[in-house]
Symmetry: C2
Subunit: 419 residues, 2 copies
C-alpha cells in the first residue's frame, strides 16, 4: 500500500509549484505598493470565533468546518476563511487604537469540507487584504482596483468584476422583510423555505433553474438602499470608473458569509467550470462588534491563488515551456573530480548563478542525461585530465559547442553568459 493526500486536497509540485508561487507574488505586489503590511495568524482558531464571525446559519459554519478538540479539550477549527482571524488579531493586539485604517494582507491555506470538484478543494490557498477602521468609499475602491491590477499583471483578460451594495443596518431590515414576503409566495422545498426565515438573501444565490425561474420579479436591494448607502455606492462606482476598472452591476450578487454590509464584489472567470469566482470581498462594518470589539468599519477581499492559476491555464497563459531548474549543471568524472566539482558548483551559487551537479556516482552518460533534464543551458564537464590541467570543459547544451575554461575563471565566464 502507499499513502495518498487526503481526499479533496492536493500537492503543488515543480514546475507548476514555481508558477503558483509567482501567481501569489503577483497578487500581493499591488498590496505592498499600497502600504498593506503582512499578517500571519495561526491555521486554527477558537471555534467560537468562526461561529460568531462567519455566522452559525451559513453552510460554512454548519456543514464545512474542520473542528476538533485539542488535548486540553479546547474546541479548535481550521480557518475556513481569513477575515475573522485578522479582525481577532487586530483587536487582540490593539492595532485598532493606532492610526486608521489598519491595512493588512495575508496568504495561506484555508479549509472547508466541501464536495470535491474542479477548482474546489478542501484546502485552498488565498491572498487576502483587509483595511480596517475607516468608512470611506475610496477604501472600497482602492481594494477593488488593487485586486484588478493583480489579475491584469498576470495577463488575465477574462476576469469580470461584479459589484453590488447590500445596504446597511438602516436599510437592510426593510429590504429583508420585502424579500421574505416575496419568497414566501413561491413554490419552494422545505429547506429553502427555512432559509427564507434565517437568511433570505442567500436564496437569491440558489443556482437551481427551478428556483431561478421564480426569482425574476424578486425585489432588489439596490431599489431599497437608504440615501447614505446609495451615495456611498455611487462614489465607489465613480472611483472605479475614473480608475479605468471595468465592472458590471449585479443586483443579485450576495455572498455566503453573514458579515457583509454595503459594497460587495466578486471577480469571476468563465474558465473554471461550475465555480466561477476567482476572488471576492466586501465591506463588513459590523464584524468587529460581533466579535466583542468596538465599531470598526472595514473592507476586504480574498483572491484564490489556485483558482487564479486555473484561470491562467484556461486563457492559455501557461503554455511556454517550463524554465530550467538551474542554469549550469556539473558533470564530474571520478572521485577527485566530484570533490572539485562540489566546490565549483558552490562557488557558482555564491556568485548568484543557479547550479546543480550529478550525484550518486553517475557515469558520463547518466550525468549528461541529468544535465539535459535539469534544463540547464550549460554543462561543466570535469575529468581527471581536466583536473590536472586546472580546467573544465564548458559545453553549451543548445549549440553543443564546447570550450575549455580555467577553473579559476569559470564563475566570471559564466556570469557573462547566463545574465
Amino acid at each position: 500500500m502507499s499513502f495518498q493526500a487526503p481526499k479533496g486536497t492536493f500537492d503543488w509540485l515543480p514546475p507548476r509549484s514555481e508558477r503558483v508561487l509567482a501567481v501569489r507574488e503577483a497578487l500581493v505586489a499591488p498590496l505592498r505598493l499600497a502600504g498593506y503590511g503582512y499578517v500571519e495568524t495561526p491555521v486554527f482558531e477558537d471555534t467560537e470565533l468562526f461561529k460568531r464571525g462567519v455566522g452559525e446559519s451559513t453552510d460554512v459554519v454548519s456543514k464545512e468546518m474542520y473542528t476538533f478538540p485539542d488535548r486540553a479539550g479546547r474546541s479548535l477549527t481550521l480557518r475556513p476563511e481569513g477575515t475573522a482571524s485578522v479582525v481577532r488579531a487586530v483587536l487582540q493586539h490593539n492595532l485598532h487604537t493606532g492610526q486608521l485604517p489598519v491595512k493588512l494582507w495575508y496568504s495561506g491555506s484555508q479549509f472547508r469540507y466541501e464536495r470535491a470538484q474542479k477548482g474546489r478543494y478542501r484546502h485552498f490557498w488565498q491572498v487576502g487584504a483587509e483595511a480596517l477602521g475607516s468608512e470611506d468609499p475610496a477604501l472600497d475602491a482602492e481594494l477593488i482596483v488593487l485586486g484588478a491590477r493583480g489579475f491584469a499583471s498576470l495577463g488575465l483578460r477574462q476576469v469580470r468584476l461584479l459589484v453590488n451594495s447590500l445596504g446597511d443596518k438602516n436599510c437592510r431590515p426593510a429590504y429583508r422583510a420585502a424579500l421574505q414576503e416575496f419568497l414566501r409566495g413561491l413554490d419552494l422545498d422545505e429547506d429553502t423555505r427555512a432559509r427564507i426565515e434565517i437568511n433570505p438573501l442567500r436564496v437569491l444565490d440558489d443556482k437551481r433553474p427551478e428556483v431561478q425561474a421564480q426569482l425574476t420579479g424578486a425585489p432588489l436591494v439596490v431599489d431599497h438602499l437608504c440615501a447614505a448607502c446609495k451615495s456611498y455606492h455611487e462614489e465607489v462606482r465613480s472611483l472605479l470608473t475614473a480608475s479605468g476598472v471595468a465592472f458590471e452591476d449585479d443586483p443579485r450578487l450576495v455572498r455566503g458569509l453573514d458579515y457583509y454590509t454595503r459594497t460587495t464584489f466578486e471577480f469571476v472567470h468563465g474558465g473554471l467550470g461550475s465555480q466561477s469566482a476567482v476572488g471576492g470581498g466586501g465591506r463588513y462594518d459590523g464584524l468587529s462588534e460581533m466579535l466583542g470589539g468596538p465599531p470598526l468599519p472595514s473592507v476586504g477581499w480574498a483572491l484564490g491563488v489556485d483558482r487564479t492559476y486555473l484561470a491562467m491555464e484556461a486563457e492559455g497563459l501557461l503554455d511556454e515551456a517550463a524554465p530550467g531548474r538551474v542554469q549550469v549543471y556539473g558533470v564530474p568524472l571520478g572521485d577527485d573530480a566530484r570533490r572539485r566539482m562540489f566546490l565549483l558548483v558552490s562557488e557558482l551559487r555564491e556568485a548568484g548563478i543557479s547550479a546543480d551537479m550529478a550525484f550518486g556516482g553517475k557515469g558520463l552518460k547518466g550525468a549528461m542525461k541529468g544535465a539535459d533534464r535539469s534544463g540547464a543551458r550549460f554543462a561543466l564537464i570535469l575529468g581527471e585530465r581536466d583536473l590536472a590541467a586546472e580546467a573544465v570543459q564548458l559545453k553549451d547544451l543548445t549549440t553543443a559547442e564546447q570550450t575549455e575554461v580555467p577553473l579559476a575563471q569559470v564563475a566570471d565566464v559564466l556570469k557573462g553568459k547566463v545574465q
Copy 2:
C-alpha cells in the same frame, strides 16, 4: 469578551512580520540557486502516515499530534513535521521514477501540542529541503552548506553546527544492543527504563542532570560504525571542511524522530533559552520503505523561521528602525481633492512607488499625522486651490522643505527622489 489566538500560538504583525518574511526568503534563496524546486503539501495528512513515518514510539506521535476525524470519519493529523508529507507526495506522484535525486523545498506551519515556552510554540514555521533518491555524501554536505549559507546571509555569527553519524541498518543494531546493555545497568526511573527497550538512543538526549551524570561512559555510535558508514561520514566531514563550513563533532547528537540514518546534524544558537536548535536534519534512507515505497535513500533538513528570527534578535541584528510602510503619503483637503488624490496615488503605485493616502475624511492635522506614522519620506498635499492650479505641494518630511509640482509631473519627479 474578546477572542485570543489559541494557547501556544501567535500572530506575526507588522513591522516584525515583514522581517520574518525576509528571513524566510533568505533561508530559501540558497536552495533556489541549487536547483531545489518548491513543493506544497496539505497542512493535514492521513494520521497513519505520521505513525509510520515519524514512529509510534516518539513523543511527537504519542503525545504531541493534533489528530481529528473529518466528517466522513477519516483520521487526519496536522503535520508535526514536513519530511513524511514530502516523501508521501514524491511516491504518490511518481517523482522518484524520474531523474534522481529529486530536490524539493517547502515552507509552512507545523503543529505540535507541546508545553508553550520561549521559542517553542504549538505551531511553528519552517523552511525545509529534501534531496531524495541518492546515496552520496556530497548531497549531505550540500544541504548542510546551503543551510549554513542561509544563516550567514542573515548576518548570524553565533550559529554552531553539530554533526554526527547514526550508522545504518548494518551497524546500528550492534551499537543499539551495546547501548542497551550499558543503560540497563544505570539507576533510572521506570519510564526511562521502558525507553531503553523501545528507543535507547533517545535516552542519550535526556536533559536531566541526574541522567546526564550517569551517561559519561556510555558507548558512542561513532565507535561502532561499520567501514561503509565510517568512510561516508569522513567524506561528508571533509567536504564541509573544504567548503569552509565550521562544525563540531557531537557523538551524543541523536534526533527525536525514528527515521534518521547515517548523517545527523543540528544548527544550534545560544540565544534561544532552553530550546537551542534553530534547525537540523539528516539522512533517512529507510523512510520510503517504511511508507510502502521502494528504497529511496534521502537526506533533508528543516530550519525554524521563527527561531531564526529570535536568534537574530539575540544577536542584535534587528535593531535598526523599521522601514517606512510607504514612500509617499497623500494628504487631500476636500472631496474633489480626495478623488484626484485617489487617482494620483494609484498612478504612483503603477510607477512602482509605494504610496498611501489619508482615508475617512481626515482634516489636515489628522492626515499629516497619518503621513508621519506611515514612515513616508514625502507627503503630497492637495487643496482646492492646488487642484485649480493642476498642481500639488510636495513636502519632504525629513527636511520640511515644500515645493509645488504640476500634477502631471508628480510621478516623474518622485521617481528620481525615492529610488
